[in-house]
């Protein structure tokens, strides 16, 4: 009689998650890929691509707008987030309360936060539009910028800074030549964690502009939930989005030469 051998190695612990990944990440992606090439009657077609890239439904315009808004959001988050993370790390490294204050908004559901933001804008008689959407984006994604930055900045070995000072660098030089390069991993992951959700969001633009600012996420959402037979175009859009995310990651990884700096997203 043959003996069944089951080797219970440490690797076995990874299997459940591997199966999960396969079922809920890989399979859906494949379905999207297939859908992108199917027409209403499930026949192979390139028409979905033609429809999207011909910009008949304004898809490319929407994509361009989304990219710009995502870019600007990321930039503002970086400009606000970096000094914030820097001073948090420098003066309050041991004091977790301040860090907590920055994460605190994330404990409230983001839809509730965004609806409240709208209520505040309406009460202040601010016209909903591009400005309010941008505000909502920055407000929502700022913590995602600050946290990785803060973690990297706190973990910088202080002796590097002392060494730089010893060798005669002034404060500006210390920052530009020592701290900034050493914090690049944080900057990179902060940018990816902000930019990618910012180009795909739809709830923020929907609420904070009363759906007037129509972003890429809104367009994809529309193709899947408001119609029955435009899954194809919606899938093409999702694919474009996926490619963009990959491209963004590659660019970020290329620009940061250090091996450790590679983005993990």
């Amino acid at each position: 009689m043959k003996k069944f051998k089951f080797r219970f190695s440490r690797r076995a612990f990874a299997y459940p998650y591997m199966i999960f990944l396969l079922l809920f990440v890989v399979v859906p992606l494949v379905i999207i890929l297939i859908n992108a090439f199917l027409d209403d009657n499930s026949k192979f077609t390139f028409a979905n691509f033609a429809e999207f890239f011909s910009d008949a439904g304004g898809g490319l315009t929407v994509l361009g707008n989304s990219l710009i808004i995502g870019l600007v959001t990321t930039l503002i988050c970086l400009v606000i987030g970096y000094p914030c993370a820097y001073f948090l790390a420098k003066y309050h490294a041991s004091n977790r309360v301040f860090v907590l204050l920055f994460i605190l908004p994330m404990w409230v559901n983001f839809l509730i936060r965004t609806l409240s933001t709208k209520a505040i804008f309406m009460a202040l008689d601010v016209k909903l539009g591009m400005g309010t959407v941008l505000f909502g984006m920055v407000y929502n994604y700022l913590p995602y910028m600050i946290l990785p930055l803060h973690t990297t900045l706190v973990s910088i070995d202080h002796s590097y800074i002392e060494a730089a000072e010893d060798l005669g660098a002034d404060k500006m030089t210390v920052f530009l030549r020592t701290i900034l390069p050493l914090s690049m991993p944080g900057v990179v992951s902060g940018i990816t964690m902000t930019f990618i959700p910012a180009i795909s969001t739809f709830a923020i633009s929907e609420i904070l502009s009363s759906s007037k600012i129509f972003l890429f996420g809104d367009a994809i959402n529309m193709h899947f939930s408001k119609t029955t037979n435009s899954f194809g175009v919606g899938s093409v859009m999702s694919l474009v989005m996926l490619v963009l995310v990959i491209v963004a990651n590659v660019i970020v990884n290329l620009t940061s030469k250090d091996e450790e700096v590679k983005s993990t997203l």
Partner: protein, 568 residues
Amino acid sequence: MKKIVSALAILLLVCLVLTTLASCKTEETDSLVIYNWADYIFDDKLTDFKEYYRDITGKNIDITYVTFDTNETMLTRLTKGDSNVDVVCPSEYAIQKLIELDMLVPMHYFDEQAYTEDFSSNVRLAPDGDEVYYIHNSGNVEQGIIDKVSDAFGSIEITAEGSNQHKKVSMVDYFVPYMYGTLGILYNKYAFKELGIYDEEILNRANWGILFNDDGQGGLLSEGLTGSILMKDSIRDSYAATVFYLLESGKLDGLKNDDGVAYADMSVGDLINAVDDQLLALVKDALTEQKTHLFGYEVDFGKDDLLTGNAMVDLAWSGDAMYAVEESWNDSLGDEGDYELSYYVPHSTGNIWFDGWVVPKTRNPAHTDAIKLFINYLNRPDVAAANLLEIGYSASVKSDVIKSDEAARAVLAEGYAVYAPELWDAADEDGNPLSQEDCDFADWEEFELYFFHNSYLDEDGNLVSYDEISNSNWRYPFESAATNADNYRNIDSLGVMRDFGTKNKAVVTAWNYSRSAGVNALPLLGWTALAVAVAVGAVYLVIYIKRVVRQNVKIPQKNKPDDSGSEQ
């Protein structure tokens, strides 16, 4: 040892299976899976139905209630797999699609013989020996709905491949009407008064142009309306409203469709279903142009935005609109309080829609009794009254039947706090009897005038409409068209919208285009680039100045080693 353990385990398993099987057999419980719109039934009526079902059949019933929020989600779920449901309540155009796909079972509700044919337990003996009868309620259904639907859909051709392909069928055989309503304009009456446009003549001239800030003569309806208009985030409804607007504002004058028929000569029903490229391009342009006047597009928040003053006008369905109007009662308005919001269906053109119950082919055949009894139960006047009270739409049961049914009157009287002790106990939650003053309506007649005719009797006994503009009964358009002499609306002015069919994709593309138009993020990019440039420039300038200053300081200090900044 091992053998004993496994033997025991098997024994245990067998016992378990046997007991479950046994328990299934002893309890006679039927089940029913209902797939309905969210918030589209009075929950108590589901419980009542269980009782009714026990009365008729002597069996218990288990109800699984699942909801959807758009016809599209429902269609996707039914067509792409998960379709373990017995009864569904789609809108008319979705029913058309389901019939074309050959996914529905014909019910022949309006032919009693055919409908009850396969009831396994039509009549049974009650415990006390009396026979319990099932009462067929198809006679309660408003004939106007059946006519409208037959008229709009004619015969539908089944296009799905299979034995039934190319068979032509009638929609009426497949569905049982449940609720219906109109598409119209919900607006803030007092905001309109402030703008000076709360005037019958002005609004009737502007017509659907109210949503486009067009006074019907090419000018703006009001400057103040810009930025205060809400549009429904729904392709079909927005399309219908836009086509009406194009017609009413004369933008279709002289234009003809591919067959050479002038759009202006078409009936309302034909016009909203005449989706061709020319019309679509016009609709796209109108919707794009409209965007500059909009506050935004709404799905759920329209009512709140109207009441808080963020917006003044909204494209709305009658049920939502009437619910919003009734919620908007404000004691501080007018002399004795007034409804702040109002609902207006322009008189010459409009859309009427129907939702009804259908049975998918994938239903569980064992549930047939439950399916038929449930659908029929909903057309009982008191059940219909309770449901329409709860959800705000008009039930398909004739208003005359509701008015004359004692139980239905009692439901409405209690729901609207009518002082009618002969109908209900007219008491508050603690059981204290209410006086006539405590109630919202002094008697049934006053309520009936309000509910079915949207009007009241003034001190001199004249019939006055709550709303001078619409001046029509929008809750029961069929009745109003037939009986209300003051009403200029003809039921023919309300068109039923079919599925866009092959034009579906083109409509989605046009809608997407208008939605994306008018947003340009390029200036934003420009400003950001400028800001970045300025910031970088400033930093470099500071560094440069610092260096210069340092060098200037250094020059007089001769004989010192050239180390900049080091303190050691």
